[in-house]
């Protein structure tokens, strides 16, 4: 069977990897899309914790509310909100690309910056609304 590893003693050329390229916005957005996806994966535990607490009775509910209201809880929830919006807008960007549109460099840059600025704006908007309501 052929091995995936190069044979000993031979220095074969290898394709360049991430550290070779200067960071571009589309590449950063691609990486962040994956990272936010993984973060949201773990973050479902927060949703499960909240729902189970609410379903368990007042004591558990107020305990969860107390944890989410602490600075560390608020920071995690803020990050979760941003990850959610960023992954959502990134998903919309990918669906535009799935149709074969928007691959010229100017549009790629605009879509990438748009999703970053959009996710930050939406996060701030929601948190301002949360504190005002």
């Amino acid at each position: 069977m052929a091995s995936a590893k190069p044979s000993a003693g031979t220095q074969r050329p290898i394709s360049p990897h991430l550290q070779i390229y200067s960071p571009l916005i589309n590449m950063m957005m691609s990486i962040i899309h994956r990272i936010t996806g993984v973060a949201l994966y773990g973050g479902t535990l927060l949703l499960a914790f909240y729902l189970v607490s609410a379903a368990s009775g007042p004591e558990a509910y107020y305990h969860a509310k107390w944890i989410f209201g602490k600075p560390i809880g608020l920071i995690i929830l803020f990050g979760y909100t941003w990850a959610l919006f960023h992954h959502m807008l990134g998903g919309i960007r990918h669906m535009i690309w799935d149709t074969g549109r928007g691959f010229d460099l100017a549009t790629v840059d605009r879509l990438c910056w748009g999703s970053l600025i959009g996710s930050i704006s939406l996060t701030i908007l929601v948190w301002v609304a949360a504190f005002m309501l």
């Binding site: 994956r34 996806g37 993984v38 949201l40 994966y41 479902t44 535990l45 949703l47 499960a48 729902l51 189970v52 609410a54 379903a55 009775g57 007042p58 509910y61 107020y62 959610l84 959502m88 998903g91 919309i92 669906m95 799935d98 929601v126 609304a129 949360a130 309501l133």
Partner: protein, 139 residues
């Protein structure tokens, strides 16, 4: 041979694959574009359901226990919430599967992690659904 439009033309491919295999388009894993397609379908569903969830979250911020229970017992809330959980865990399982397949090169570990990925998605999904049902129907 007639020329066919394929994404990766290979000179031998046309002879090796039978016309039936080609028209089915399922590839060697016999899944075809199933993974890709499910990811897109659940992604679109999540788009709408997450927007709903953000508004729900805003309603629940700072709510007393009685208020939270009242909000979370309405079918107009529990129904989309249940759908979000279902669509969400399917979407995240597919996404994490891709991440594992990309980065884990040892076959044994990969299989273990893929299995744990499925277990995690089902466990989180089932826990959330049970809580939502209890909120909807429980005392």
């Amino acid at each position: 041979m007639t020329t066919t439009l394929r994404p990766t033309p290979s000179p031998n491919d046309a002879q090796i694959r039978t016309p039936l295999a080609r028209v089915r388009g399922l590839g060697s894993a016999k899944e075809g574009t199933d993974h890709f397609w499910r990811q897109r379908v659940t992604g679109v569903a999540n788009l709408f359901l997450v927007i709903f969830a953000v508004f729900l979250m805003l309603k629940l911020v700072g709510a007393s226990y009685q208020n939270a229970r009242a909000i979370l017992s309405s079918p107009l809330v529990t129904l989309p919430l249940g759908m979000l959980i279902l669509s969400g865990v399917i979407h995240m399982r597919l996404g994490m599967q891709t991440v594992i397949e990309d980065y884990i090169h040892s076959e044994g570990l990969k299989i273990v992690l893929l299995m744990l990925n499925t277990f995690f998605a089902i466990a989180v999904g089932a826990t959330c659904i049970l809580a939502v049902l209890k909120l909807a129907f429980g005392s």
